[in-house]
Amino acid sequence: MGENILVVDDDKLLLQTIKNLLEKEKYSVTAVDNSNKALELIKQNFYPLIILDVRMPDMDGMELLKRIRDIQENSHTSTIIVITGYADENVPIKAIKYGASDYIMKPFDITEFLYSVNKNMRIARLEMEKIKYIGEIANKNKELERALEELRKTKEKLEEYNCSLEQKVEERAKELNELQVQLFQSAKMAAIGQLGAGVAHELNNPLGGILGYAQFILEKFKKKDFKEEDIRACQKYIETIEKEAIRCKKIVENLLRFSRRPITFKKESANINNVVEDTISLIHHQLKIKNINVITNLQPNLPKVPLVINQIQQVLTNLILNAQQAMPNGGELKISTSKLLNSEKTPSNYIKIEVTDTGVGIPEENLPKIFDPFFTTKDKEKGTGLGLSIAYQIIQEHRGNIEVKSKVGEGSTFTILIPVEEE
């Protein structure tokens, strides 16, 4: 069956005739003979096409048109054809003004009538399509809004999550940082433990001289025949005392600087050669008694670099102690500094520090592991395996690089690069 057409006419004969006509054209037809019934039906059903007589006893056709429009508003508008018997030309104009799309004058010819119905049905269909589309668009719109809403909620959640994530990351970073500080500290303490005996020798030798000479001078003062030459001798002894006391002071200062727990890892512009020399002075004696010949080759007038001095000292101490442990029967430890000018490979200027030993060397299979935390080939008492991993981190924090070259039986070279300028 075709589309539903509502026909409204008080002329029952005409109503029946129209109904038959349209049904023959395969439309399904609802026919009513009064305006009120028509309005009832329109309220309940949608008719794409309505054909109505303008002159009916219960209600003026124009009034009916208006009410239909009121019921249907804009969303669901039926296409309306009015049938008019008036000779008055104003009626069709008025009807169209009230929302009718076409009019048919009575008496009408069937062909003309059907032509109008079909034409208006096409319009009605288009209208229906339009309505369908509008509905679909409205639905789509709703879906879209829903999707947008979802999106907004997701975004909110994401932001929330992000926020807590950031917080978590921050918390973790803080924890890690604390852990790292502890780790640095414990590795440093271990290094100091290893240094301990060496430092005692380092201090007790000059102290031995100081104590001996101080008592010797006192003895001389107590002698009755204090001679000119005694004064000269005493002056020499006092000079020795001064020299050795200064040496003690330096050792203690170094040790303090090294063992002090840094509150902030603050960088200061420093001369790397001084850092190297201070570090060696702490370990020199220990190296000497282990038959390790220390050769330094420090290039003068190097540019200053931003350093956390006691961290770099820690790195150097670890490298030197590693070298010492790699040369149990003695050997040669070479420490050199130089400047590396920028090239394609290295975008900025670098300070280069090289620590070379003639020790046992590192087997190839261990090379990728030596910077890992807790990797050690030493006894529990000797090594924690933290030295190089911490050295690596410290150098990273200086935007630098640490590398190793080694050959078993020949020795190892550790190379540190630290950029001269900090961006």
Binding site: A197, N205, L207, G208, G209, Y213, F216, A233, H285, K288
Partner: protein, 131 residues
């Protein structure tokens, strides 16, 4: 025995320590020689008869303990005093190996002289026994 006849060898790689011994002991008329390591010490001991040797334990090339063992072989009569910064396994082993005593740096002149007297005292007894 008068101090002039007492030959003392100081073996230490620290210049200040060597000088200090020389200044203090020469002032008391002891005959003092020095060596900067175990190897030099052994060479000197071969050339000259020393009564007393002060040996630092921690020295390059041949450490104090190794030097002590050699001295005990080539000149067992020398009284050897081991010097160290604190008592550690090397000092203990040195005493087992026949060192007379050990002293810890920094030490007082009094300690230095007492230990020399002790070494000489034992030395005198030895001489009497041998007669």
């Amino acid at each position: 025995m008068v101090n002039e006849n007492v030959n003392i060898l100081i073996v230490d790689d620290e210049e200040t320590i060597r000088n200090m011994f020389v200044d203090i002991l020469q002032d008391r008329n002891y005959k003092v020689d020095t060596a900067i390591n175990g190897q030099e010490a052994v060479e000197k001991i071969i050339e000259k008869a020393y009564d007393i040797a002060f040996l630092d334990v921690h020295m390059p090339i041949i450490n104090g303990l190794e030097t002590l063992k050699i001295i005990k072989k080539i000149a067992p009569r020398i009284k050897v005093i081991i010097m160290d910064s604190f008592p550690d396994s090397l000092t203990q082993e040195a005493e087992k190996e026949g060192a007379l005593a050990s002293i810890h740096k920094p030490f007082e002149i009094k300690t230095m002289l007492e230990i020399i007297d002790k070494a000489l005292g034992i030395n005198k007894e030895d001489i009497r026994e041998n007669v």
